[in-house]
Symmetry: C2
Subunit: 375 residues, 2 copies
């Protein structure tokens, strides 16, 4: 029996170059692009066991395993993907891909625009969830996968799974839509807009051309990340982890006094070190724009009508970014269409971030869903 | 019969100067100070009909009425205070006061520090809810009011009413604690800290000495206000007022596209024009620090034991800044003490801002509570 904690081991990112241009939802097009990706497990002879994992806001293609020389995995879903894990790499060929516009290797605002020889910066087009899915489909072609056993993701990743089901119904057998929503609420958009305002009004943003100035809008990025972070954790979890605990007594100054202040500042600083401001702006826009029902007059059931895959929709009780009620909208639209859908509302205290954690019931449901059909 | 919509009419702010120094909670002291205030109605011969109104984050002493030359009231609680209104100025002598550290006339960071001849700026001490209450008590002395018929406020104003009940039990007959909480949660503090980070990292903040540079950290203030604003409105209300409405179609740019974006930007810009950054920092700190139960090992009932006044506690169903559950903590602590307390949970869709609106049931309860005892 395979131990549950087994890792996929040492992994190496790969790069796929696409020379044909990609037409974008905005009307612009991207003249060729590169996608960085990783794979775990082996593609079977029938090419029928591939699972595509889509990432959310600040993650990447590095889903599982360790890089040469690392002692611990920094893969963002390493607890989910591996031999004997819920996404069992002894059975499935798993693909992690970095999306267009990101800052972890795929073509994005920090990449060199071949037309100018300089970083794209603010000239990089706004890309949407549908654009990502189109680019991912090209990667599947390249890997020789015509039909995916599953497309899966949490949060913004779940939206990509939903877009796959609508856009390429013949190419996916299952969609796992976790901690997602059929679109952003006004409040969700509001949080994104505040984060963007913090970045865009940072004097070192230079209208998105900060690469040319050798600076980064780190102050804006920090604030943006701090705001985001509040929405990823439930109020209850924050109360339990931090409450009103002080670091070292009240000091009647503006230095951090409460533990929650230190925590948020630390998260903001860490993020601003590695993340690209233009990517942050674009990924929040992709979130704001996602709304498959917009094409069908607001009727989500009609928007989902083309889908033919089986669906697993999962939400978490304390998620206030994309609450269970939002997941239930998706489920209702699928049921109205008499689609094959399973729904689980997981009792978890963590809020939105629960989708990244290894609550046993949650992982067991993912495993069971994939077991329903042979790959 | 007095028409319900009657205003207190033309009002003029007054100024009280206190030369005796004020010892602050921080251990610092303020060498004399000024408070700006307004009064409406007349103090009766027994001096027993005074109601003190305490303001929240961005409000002031200007509670009701109009200034000379204005056609409409900009008083923040004009719907509550006036002849025939819930706080009936035909019966009560109402006092609105601007708190210490504010930027609307009372001594604060933008005031001249007599010791240096320059604005206090970052040298202005951090003041607490208790410090405000101590200063307000001096104003009551000055006005010849030994015992207030009521102290009343919403949000941070409700915290001041609570502090009065504990600090000066013999000096108040009633406390009206509306849309408040016995302390801030970790999430509440987190939102404040992000707002402070936006202000303090604005290069034009100059460590709080921006007056000397002839600039203002308007970018930071805008972001701070945008964040705050999200927490003042319920998710439901934002969905109803703005939803995913676009201004003018998608433009695939970072100009405002959704109505909620325009609204937030407008709110941020308006606020940054008139509000002082050092005041914002200090008022959020006063909120973070407020925690009467900290002095009694976390036991709120023990903290409230000294109170002798009658209490009216009001919360609003969709308030997620200070939810009804937080108001119920106050009610429970009062009931455990066998204090005289009325509690109303008003069904209102607006979120935290509901305390400023004139929901009829809400105002009727305030009126009825004040009617229970003759002034």
């Amino acid at each position: 029996m395979t131990p549950l904690s087994t890792s996929v081991g040492i992994v190496t990112p790969q790069r796929a170059t696409f020379t044909e241009s990609l037409a974008l939802q905005s009307g612009a097009s991207l003249p060729g692009f590169e996608l960085v990706y990783e794979t775990y497990g082996s593609l079977n002879a029938e090419r029928s066991n591939a699972i595509l994992i889509c990432h959310a806001l600040n993650a990447s293609h590095h889903v599982a395993g360790t890089y040469e020389g690392e002692s611990e995995s920094e893969g963002w879903w390493d607890n989910m993907v591996g031999p004997g894990k819920a996404i069992d790499t002894d059975r499935f060929f798993v693909i992690g891909v970095n999306n267009l516009g990101s800052c972890f290797g795929s073509t994005g605002p920090a990449s060199i625009n071949l037309a100018t020889g300089r970083p794209w910066g603010s000239d990089f087009p706004i890309v949407t969830v549908e654009d990502w899915v189109d680019a991912q489909a090209r990667l599947a072609d390249r890997l020789g996968v015509q039909r995916l056993a599953a497309v899966m993701g949490g949060s913004l990743g779940g939206m990509q799974a939903l877009a796959w089901a609508i856009r390429f119904p013949q190419r996916i057998a299952r969609a796992l839509v976790i901690a997602a929503a059929p679109n952003l609420s006004a409040q969700n958009i509001a949080f994104n807009e505040v984060a963007r305002a913090a970045i865009m009004t940072d004097p070192e943003f230079h209208d998105g051309k900060f690469y040319d100035y050798g600076v980064k809008p780190v102050r804006g990025l920090r604030v943006a990340r701090m705001i985001g972070h509040i929405t990823y954790i439930s109020d209850e979890q924050m109360a339990e982890r931090f409450g009103r605990q002080l670091r070292d007594g009240l000091n009647f100054s503006f230095a951090p006094e409460f533990q929650i202040e230190s925590y948020l500042r630390y998260q903001g600083e860490k993020f601003a070190e590695y993340y690209d401001a233009n990517t942050y702006l674009r990924i929040t826009k992709a979130l704001d724009y996602f709304d498959p029902a917009a094409a069908t007059g607001g009727d989500l059931a009609r928007a989902l009508a083309p889908a033919t895959c089986g669906f697993l929709v999962i939400s978490f009780t304390t998620d206030w970014r994309f609450s269970p009620a939002r997941s239930r909208e998706i489920v209702k639209a699928l049921v109205d269409n008499r689609k094959d859908v399973c729904y689980a509302e997981i009792d978890a205290p963590h809020g939105h971030d629960a989708f990244l954690l290894d609550t046993p019931q949650y992982h067991a449901i993912v495993r069971a869903f994939l077991d329903r059909l042979a790959p």
